[in-house]
């Protein structure tokens, strides 16, 4: 080997090391980006298992607020009720709203669904509400306590305020692991509304909500999200 060829060989080795470095950085970077942007959203995978009302259940409606996890649900809107975040293995809360727009109004159906790992806890929590005779001082129009369909009640007020058309109602129901609370209301843009958010619509939607929670799985989960309770 000629002495003059040594620096050339050193350069080649450096070049190779250089290229290895570039390749390594590129591989780490691309792998990282694939992981970050290709991880599926767990909520999208869970969504079909959650017994939420969908636009197909209410003709002409669309999703107002997209499905998200919530742990902000309380047994009733009472400041004395302690609140704490849901523990995944015990409770899972979901929220979504549907809107229906007319010429002078916006009708809304805000739905919260809570899954309880222990159906007895679900029953105990909601028995208090169902037995109360009123919900947040709203008179209960209808209730159902039989075993053939979810225990439920519909509480409505006839005079909800100047910008809201009556009836404004809460529907609460539970069945085994699932509890749902649905708030029905309709806002006007200042026009005097002559039509209600028809009680017929409310009845149709509550019947559908009952069907959905009765056919819902025992646990909404997949893979590592399942606790097997």
């Amino acid at each position: 080997m000629k002495p003059s060829s040594l620096p050339l060989r050193a350069n080649e080795r450096n070049l190779s090391r250089d290229q290895m470095g570039i390749l390594l950085a590129l591989i780490i970077g691309i792998a990282g980006q694939l992981i970050v942007f290709l991880i599926p959203d767990p909520l999208d995978i869970l969504a079909p298992q959650i017994p939420m009302l969908m636009p197909r259940d209410w003709q002409g409606s669309y999703i107002g607020t997209e499905l998200f996890f919530t742990d902000n649900w309380r047994a009733s809107y009472n400041a004395d009720t302690p609140w704490s975040p849901f523990v995944w293995s015990e409770k899972r809360g979901f929220y979504q709203s549907l809107y229906l727009t007319g010429d002078h109004f916006l009708s809304s159906v805000d739905q919260t669904i809570v899954w309880y790992a222990d159906p007895i806890e679900n029953a105990n929590v909601w028995k208090k509400e169902l037995d109360a005779g009123a919900y947040n001082s709203w008179p209960i129009l209808e209730s159902h306590m039989g075993s053939d369909k979810p225990a439920s009640f519909l509480a409505c007020i006839s005079d909800p305020g100047p910008m809201t058309s009556p009836p404004q109602c809460w529907y609460l129901a539970y069945w085994e692991h699932w509890f749902t609370a649905i708030f029905f209301y309709r806002q006007s843009n200042g026009e005097t509304l002559t039509e209600d958010l028809l009680l017929q619509d409310i009845r149709q939607l509550t019947a559908r909500a009952d069907e959905l929670i009765m056919s819902a799985p025992d646990e909404p989960c997949f893979g590592f999200l399942c606790t097997g309770k």
Binding site: G21, G29, I30, I35, V36, I39, D71, W88
Partner: protein, 123 residues
């Protein structure tokens, strides 16, 4: 609120003025400086988007171990810099100067996050 505005007023000029000036002094070439700056901008935006995505889809109540959650956030922040560093080195920027992108991308992503928070805070 006042603290965030103060940070913004300090960080944004740092990114917009001092970093380009410093890099130009090091690189002594407009094309490489622009290349470095573009890499910083793109990598910062991608790092911010990746961080936000991980934060949105895997934050509680998803029962992911905390170390995995934070490791994914770290990957989201660092991986765009890796690609940008590889690109810069490929185009002839020295390793030391290319690697300077790592801390700057973190500051860049943080700055973008701060700017994104301003409308929420005003709101």
């Amino acid at each position: 609120m006042a603290m965030i505005l103060l940070l913004l007023t300090l960080l944004v000029p740092l990114l917009l003025l001092l970093v380009p000036a410093g890099i130009y002094r090091t690189l002594r070439s407009w094309s490489q400086t622009m290349n470095w700056e573009a890499s910083l901008l793109v990598a910062s935006v991608v790092a911010f988007l990746g961080y936000i995505r991980i934060d949105e889809i895997l934050d509680p109540p998803i029962p992911l171990p905390a170390y995995l959650f934070w490791a994914l956030k770290l990957i989201a922040l660092i991986s765009p810099s890796c690609i940008a560093v590889a690109w810069l080195r490929w185009t002839g920027v020295q390793w030391a100067t290319a690697l300077l992108l790592f801390p700057h991308v973190l500051v860049g992503a943080f700055t973008i996050w701060l700017i994104s928070q301003v409308p929420l805070m005003m709101g």
